[in-house]
Symmetry: C2
Subunit: 353 residues, 2 copies
């Protein structure tokens, strides 16, 4: 089984975007406020939005299950206030739930959190709990910069995050560290802000004792870990200069990297320097880069091709990247889609009994 | 000859730091204002500060010349105002000039610019011109975020930068894109802010027509180009999706990467994906990472070892990285330290006459 741990509902029916536009318009003119009853999306529209996109690509590329969350760039926590964010998060998460209900074998849900700049992260606990316990979601996306590129909130290691982390630990769900769109002209969203946030979060973790306080807290750093694997020597050296424990002790029980790196040399580097146990397969399709690489004739974001092309990867290691690690990190996945046991494994298990 | 294009005077005599502290104290209490006559640094103190640091490491590692600039983390353009920055920049640049005068074969100067948040970059033209025409400097360091981690200035592609770029083109000097310390708790300076700035600048260049307006303007992106080479597929794909020209046409005549990547797999990736003509040897010693890698027994920042270890690199390509490219980008270097012609080359040149 091949699990893609990083997909967003970037192809949601237009009605969702219209709802959001009304919501934003109502920030200055409450008469524009949309009502949920206006947000009409049929099951067929959902099917249509996926059949020729994520589902088609799953089939073509040979992946089975996508851990699926609302469109990251549309979270836009910087717009409006906490009430705006809660309403928008619920609408988006409910739609993800419908996707996962329609295609229970293809998608498992991860929720958007109703973060808002200047508002304590504990405000997200209710929606996280609802999504996990009522909707069967297996994780959340956590925005390290709800200001959208101004970085006005405290680092992820600040104690204001602790109540949310306590709930994550209690529910046994990981967070993918994922910013949203940028409203700072310096940062292109997918080309700079996303990657910078990944790098930033890692260095916040490196300089803190967060995982001493939460030994079972888990974060996935997407986009191949930002700049971190490329500068792995720098990070090992900084940890040493700062008198921190070695990185494997300090954070590799808690921090994982996905494979959203869109060329073979990058994937080879990732698989060379980062322990295999810390790498989760992902493509972020349909996402940041949608074209075909003229150098290969294949989609840039068809990351399975790159992982498959790494000839020195052993079968057990490949299995970890494609399924095992992701099941370990997103541990609630097992309740939704139990690990398939092969006939050989069944036989040997029976023999052991 | 081996030229290291990226070194800062991180070991300057303590008197420099004391001067700065007085300058900062005077922001609130003008009676504390330091006078230049108080800043007493003897030639011997300068020699002492370098002999057991940069010069020793040059000898040990087998490098010849370092392109040398004031300590990047101490530029701190966010402190005080334009007058503060000008005074501090002149003091720092003058000290670099003394270094280069004492050791003309070992150091060539690059200047700090007197940037200040909210102040037009044209305010830096005078100091740039002074350093290049009077002190013989060969380039400048340009801070894409003079706010120190709040990113409140316009992108590097904004027209407010153009007067400075015109002067750079006129003087034929490149800029290394280099932020300073971070006063935003989210960003560790050398572990996040530096790398993020590199990535950010590249994406600003990718989305603009800056190099159509300035075909001969040159930037060096340090720290191995931030996250860019690791995500080279992402950047090629983003350029394509955004209907930009291919990266080699769009910016590879103008943008160069240094080799400050502190492990062999990272250097191998850099040399694999980025055209050799765009790579400049550098170590940033004595800089961000000062320890010895327990995995190799050598300094993390001894980047020459990594470049030397890339067995598939041809001698002509190695020469480009170690000297040729740097002479092309920092073209005024030739006036200070002419290319050494080997006896063979001399003989064949005489034969051609």
């Amino acid at each position: 089984m091949i699990i893609d741990c990083h997909g967003h509902y970037t192809t949601a029916p237009r009605a969702l975007e219209n709802y959001r536009q009304s919501q934003i318009a109502a920030l200055n003119d409450p008469s524009q406020a949309p009502s949920l009853s206006e947000l009409k999306i049929s099951d067929d529209q959902i099917r249509e939005s996926l059949e020729n996109a994520q589902l088609k690509l799953q089939r073509e590329r040979g992946t089975d299950l996508t851990i699926f969350s609302p469109r990251a760039s549309a979270m836009a926590h910087h717009i409006g206030n906490a009430a705006t964010s809660l309403d928008w998060s619920q609408v988006c998460n409910d739609l993800i739930h419908r996707v996962c209900t329609l295609y229970p074998e293809n998608f498992a849900g991860v929720c958007q959190l109703p973060q808002s700049p200047g508002v304590a992260p504990s405000s997200c606990i209710g929606e996280l709990e609802r999504c996990v316990t009522e909707l069967g979601f297996v994780g959340c996306n956590l925005n390290p910069d709800p200001s959208g590129g101004h970085w006005t909130s405290p680092p992820l290691t600040d104690r204001s995050w602790y109540p949310l982390y306590e709930k994550m630990v209690e529910l046994d769900v990981p967070a993918m560290v994922h910013v949203s769109s940028s409203c700072n002209a310096n940062f292109h969203a997918t080309g700079a802000h996303y990657i910078n946030a990944d790098t930033t979060a890692f260095m916040q973790f490196l300089t803190s004792d967060l995982f001493r306080d939460f030994p079972t807290l888990k974060f996935v750093i997407p986009h191949g870990g930002g700049a971190v694997p490329y500068h792995w020597g720098r990070y090992r050296g900084l940890a040493q200069d700062l008198k921190r424990p070695p990185l494997n002790e300090l954070l590799l029980n808690n921090v994982f990297f996905d494979t959203c790196v869109y060329h073979l040399p990058g994937i080879e580097l990732l698989l060379t320097v980062i322990p295999i146990d810390n790498i989760l397969f992902a493509s972020e399709m349909v996402g940041a880069v949608r074209g075909i690489d003229p150098e290969t004739g294949h989609y840039f974001d068809d990351t399975k091709r790159y992982v498959d092309a790494v000839s020195w990867l052993s079968d057990p290691d490949r299995h970890k990247i494609y399924e095992g690690n992701t099941r370990r990190v997103y541990s609630r996945l097992e309740r939704r889609i139990p690990t398939k046991v092969s006939p050989q494994q069944q036989t040997s298990a029976q023999a052991r009994r």
